[in-house]
């Protein structure tokens, strides 16, 4: 985390797509969700700017244009630190909720048999990776989720602790 006064840049995508057909709108929204964007308002989303997020939003903009919509990409910084903090908090909480979900699924799978644990390990590792790729402000839940998932591997399975 950078201290107060440090200037963080954001990449903003402003886009408009026709109401109908709805498929392109859904396609674009799914992709944005997958990237973990913060939605500022209808048709305006933000990500902390780095080489990858700038490029990702550039290509979404291109896709919007291909679908007959309009899109522009901006590099910005908020005028008020409080506004930025709200954006960061929203992103942090969104990821925290996802990590908590993975953790509880991993813990539930831990109660099942060998095969169940193996299957859950594969599935939850993939899910964890998806979340990590869109995690720009790691919450403490990240580490807990990683540990819970790794504990599903036979090499990490400990004998039942006393209840």
């Amino acid at each position: 985390m950078s201290g107060p006064g440090a200037e963080r840049q954001w990449v903003l995508l402003s886009y408009r797509l026709p109401r109908e057909p709805s498929t392109p709108r859904i396609t674009v929204w799914r992709k944005l969700k997958r990237m973990g964007v913060a939605q500022i308002s209808d048709g305006l989303v933000a990500l902390p700017a780095d080489a990858r997020t700038r490029e990702q939003l550039d290509w979404i903009a291109e896709e919007v244009t291909d679908f007959g919509g309009t899109a522009t990409v901006w590099i910005a910084h908020p005028a008020a630190a409080g506004d930025e903090q709200q954006l960061i908090d929203a992103l942090t909480q969104a990821r925290a909720a996802e990590y908590q979900q993975v953790r509880s699924e991993a813990e539930a799978a831990g109660e099942t048999d060998d095969l169940g644990r193996r299957r859950a390990l594969t599935r939850l590792r993939a899910e964890l990776r998806r979340i990590q790729r869109r995690d720009y402000f790691p919450p403490p839940d990240r580490h807990a989720a990683e540990q819970a998932v790794n504990a599903l591997h036979p090499a990490n399975t400990r004998k039942e602790s006393t209840p």
């Binding site: 992709k31 997958r34 080489a51 990858r52 490029e55 550039d58 290509w59 903009a61 291109e62 896709e63 291909d66 990776r129 790729r133």
Partner: protein, 144 residues
């Protein structure tokens, strides 16, 4: 011929430049620009917004170039295209476990050198991948 792309190259642009130099234009000369407006008039742009050779219909630029230049018959190039797609777009359209590793290698390269050096290192890497998947296609299984 002159070819132009955005500076700060990553996996898709590195793979495209390799593909162009190896299969399309052996005299290719590359220009890296920071603004689309700086593409020289006599250059073909690739992996840039608004370019024919860019991301289209859910494909990455490497896939677009394969299609436009009729190179999709080569199974090794098709496999590299899947890897580049997953490293670049990460939409799980293909099963390409190589992708996250290659992505990290390229990101690290761009942290330690400029675009010319990234290309100089990435070239032999893609040559190697191409040889590997050519061999895999002949064998019908992984070579090693």
């Amino acid at each position: 011929m002159k070819w132009a792309t955005r500076a700060g190259i990553h996996i898709d642009r590195a793979a495209c430049a390799w593909l162009i130099g190896r299969f399309i234009d052996s005299d290719a000369e590359f220009v890296y620009v920071t603004d689309p407006a700086h593409v020289p008039a006599d250059a073909t742009p690739f992996d840039m917004r608004g370019a024919e050779l860019g991301h289209h219909h859910g494909d990455c630029s490497f896939e677009t170039i394969l299609r436009v230049h009729h190179l999709t018959e080569d199974p090794a190039l098709r496999r590299i295209a899947q890897i580049v797609h997953e490293a670049d777009i990460e939409d799980e359209r293909f099963d390409a476990p190589e992708a996250p590793g290659l992505d990290v290698v390229l990101r690290g390269l761009s942290m330690t050198g400029d675009d010319t050096r990234t290309m100089a290192v990435a070239g032999p890497v893609f040559d190697g991948l191409y040889a590997y998947y050519r061999h895999a296609a002949t064998l019908g299984r992984d070579p090693a």
